[in-house]
Symmetry: C2
Subunit: 176 residues, 2 copies
């Protein structure tokens, strides 16, 4: 293995994953985004062992996704509140939710995303902010930006892209 950490891949996706630790952490963030803040609630919702939960909460706090705050002096009790970067995980949870209701064997109507004010169901779809076009209608590809690492430049360089596109055409599979 060339690296023990995702951090030096130069990739924002790997960098993001680096922050979460494991799936439990993402489920804790799902709970936090749903408004839960307390140890007992996370434990009840997740059915997670207390020592694992303690470790995960500490690592999420260290990573700046949650903020620990005392809400009772006697007995001393703490709650875990979302930071801005924690709140920005919302779209990741939404994207996982959309994949989950489509591709797991859970009933499509088990959990729905609604507008809290009107109660209307929400159907999230990614669009390009400027053109308003849905992402699935755009041939969207990642490209090396001007601050790309060498690895990312190789990965996303025009030669690599062209070769992959040719291969996709030959094999009948569409690229992203």
């Amino acid at each position: 293995m060339r690296q023990s950490s995702f951090n030096n891949m130069g990739c924002p996706i790997a960098g993001a994953l680096e922050h979460f630790g494991d799936w439990w952490s993402l489920l804790i963030m799902r709970d936090a985004l749903d408004g839960f803040t307390r140890f007992d609630e996370f434990q009840e919702n997740l059915g997670i062992a207390p020592n694992i939960l303690t470790r995960r909460l500490k690592s999420l706090t260290d990573a700046g996704l949650l903020e620990r705050r005392q809400y009772s002096e006697r007995p001393a009790r703490y709650e875990y509140l979302l930071t801005e970067s924690g709140r920005d995980l919302g779209p990741v949870i939404v994207a996982l939710y959309l994949w989950g209701i489509k591709h797991t064997d859970l009933d499509h109507h088990s959990v729905v995303l609604v507008d809290q004010d009107s109660g209307a169901e929400i159907e999230p779809v990614y669009v390009d902010r400027r053109s308003g076009r849905p992402l699935r209608e755009i041939r969207a590809v990642f490209a090396a930006g001007r601050a790309a690492t060498d690895q990312m430049r190789r990965r996303h360089g025009p030669e690599t892209k062209a070769a992959l596109r040719d291969r996709a055409l030959r094999s009948g599979a569409a690229a992203l």
Copy 2:
């Protein structure tokens, strides 16, 4: 721990995570969505040990996210192509990318999402398909659907939501 699997939580997000196995699997899917299909390419991009990569590719294939196909007879060589459910992971990767360029210490311009046809940069934003309103302007919450499990019904019931909302108001933190 009450359950050894995320599958019986009745939650589409947990169900989705169940499918991926671990972070390596998501990074392999990132590569597949970028158009890479071959063992050597995944290994080169990820710097992953061959035995781990073999195991991950097998589990992604078993989970129906990738399809294994022979592309050379002599020597026998296989490529891994996206299935429909694999392709539907695109928004998860996009959401992780957006979080990563905002909240990791990678340069914002390391990797950019572009329209392959025009070269224009794309700024993905989640909107509600029907109203066109950006999700971040809607007070979006998950709610128990009509096919919710008991656990999800408790979690997302009106009493729980009301209690969490009150607490968020008292503590000055906004709910999702």
